[in-house]
Symmetry: C2
């Protein structure tokens, strides 16, 4: 890999927006094209990547003059993109936690996955240098090529087949999407008490610091772990029905996780 | 408050173990006694606090020669401790998010609450210098006295009556106890994929960093927000029933939170 791989990016959402520049900064790929559902979104990412980057909405053009196509699109769009380019000479890679690698075989016999286990929001710069990135490839040779590329982004590269990657993605939903949503719910409850979520920042920071230090299992505190039934009932009584249901189910899960402990 | 207040601590659990030394370091209180359910636990905390600190299991001795009694015990134990010292001359304070301040009126007409909104685990040192601490007191004069004491521990002192404190405690259960438990569940799922929770540390860090930066509502990502039904069904299919239920209910909560968005 002496000259950068001429690369098309399919997708212009949160993942493409963060990952494409990070990969390009690594120096081993050069984005020549962005393919997206709307010309406006393709154009916006293309402009971010450089003046000569083509913007198009035409999936069937994705692999033209490209050594590699990176599909960073919604899960259903990965298959559509691959099927639009059957018989492609390029290497095809997707970035999804939940799509089988073999979906890309519709485009090319050389395909793989670069799955960065990270949360991406357009406009929020993210440091990927230690993010776990899991690889899969249709051959050992391609796996090593993808590893070389991924190592320009992060020092934390692993391998996972499609089944393992789906489990990791599911675990990431618990560790990221669900924890984040619980902060949104905490903000709702705190608002009722007239306080902003900022008041909870030292608590949140300490929760995460302690979980990293001794593990979340040992770090668990609160009424559900210590079996404080009256406290939990009082909390449920002041919550609206949707939050009451979540409170109840998570408290039961905690209680059952620590049911061997005396109170 | 020129000479430190002679203070008895009732309780020797996670909160007492962290808060009593922090308060004493502030210089305005001097712990003279630890009262706990077992002599061993009272003795362990007493030894941590100094050679002259009495250890006892006798609730009725709590306020002897004490200017202040701080009850940092389980919620049901607060009432027991207060009732064992009716007619007390001391100021009585508890540290619980969920117990009405007036429970302490069984012991003394001068009572209040110092509620530190933080997660405490014995053996894990915690920096309380910015932790939100909410006060309540039976008089304005006592409130100011408690504020002076609390300010030796944290620069983030607020007020909350018993109802408001209960809501804040409930919000803290979402922001701390539930987020932490979701990390325990993520660890279980990741274990099935043969990976440790350490792989998820950059993801967790970024989730919390982004939530602090732009708020958890705007920072939400994942299949439930983008309506990726097939992904969610695939995840639920690989989870055991208890986790499947939690996955489903939290995904529904996210979907309904963002139901106004187009996919």
């Amino acid at each position: 890999m002496n000259t950068p791989l001429r690369t098309a990016v399919v997708g212009a959402g949160n993942v493409a927006w963060s990952l494409a520049p990070a990969l390009e900064r690594g120096g081993l790929i050069k984005v020549i094209r962005v393919v997206a559902r709307t010309h406006g979104s393709a154009e916006a990412l293309a402009r971010r990547l450089g003046p000569d980057v083509e913007a198009t909405t035409d999936n069937s053009r994705a692999d033209r003059d490209a050594d590699m196509v990176i599909v960073a699109a919604t899960d259903s769009a990965v298959r559509q993109a691959a099927e639009a380019c059957s018989g492609s000479q390029a290497v095809w890679v997707h970035t999804s936690g939940s799509v089988d690698a073999s979906v890309l075989s519709a485009a090319s016999p050389r395909y793989g996955v670069i799955y960065p286990m990270q949360t991406f929001t357009r406009g929020v710069e993210v440091d990927l240098s230690h993010a776990a990135i899991y690889l899969e490839a249709s051959s050992e040779k391609l796996l090593e090529q993808l590893r070389t590329i991924a190592l320009t982004v992060s020092d934390n590269i692993g391998e996972a087949d499609s089944e393992g990657r789906r489990r990791l993605h599911c675990a990431a939903v618990f560790a990221c999407n669900f924890t984040n949503h619980l902060l949104t719910l905490a903000e709702r409850v705190a608002h009722e008490a007239g306080r902003p979520l900022d008041d909870f920042r030292p608590l949140i920071d300490e929760t995460m610091r302690k979980a990293a230090l001794i593990g979340p299992y040992d770090g668990q505190t609160g009424p559900a772990r210590r079996g404080a039934t009256a406290v939990m009932e009082a909390h449920e009584a002041l919550l609206p029905p949707d939050l009451r249901n979540i409170y109840h189910i998570l408290s039961e899960s905690i209680a059952s996780t620590y049911s061997h402990e005396p109170h």
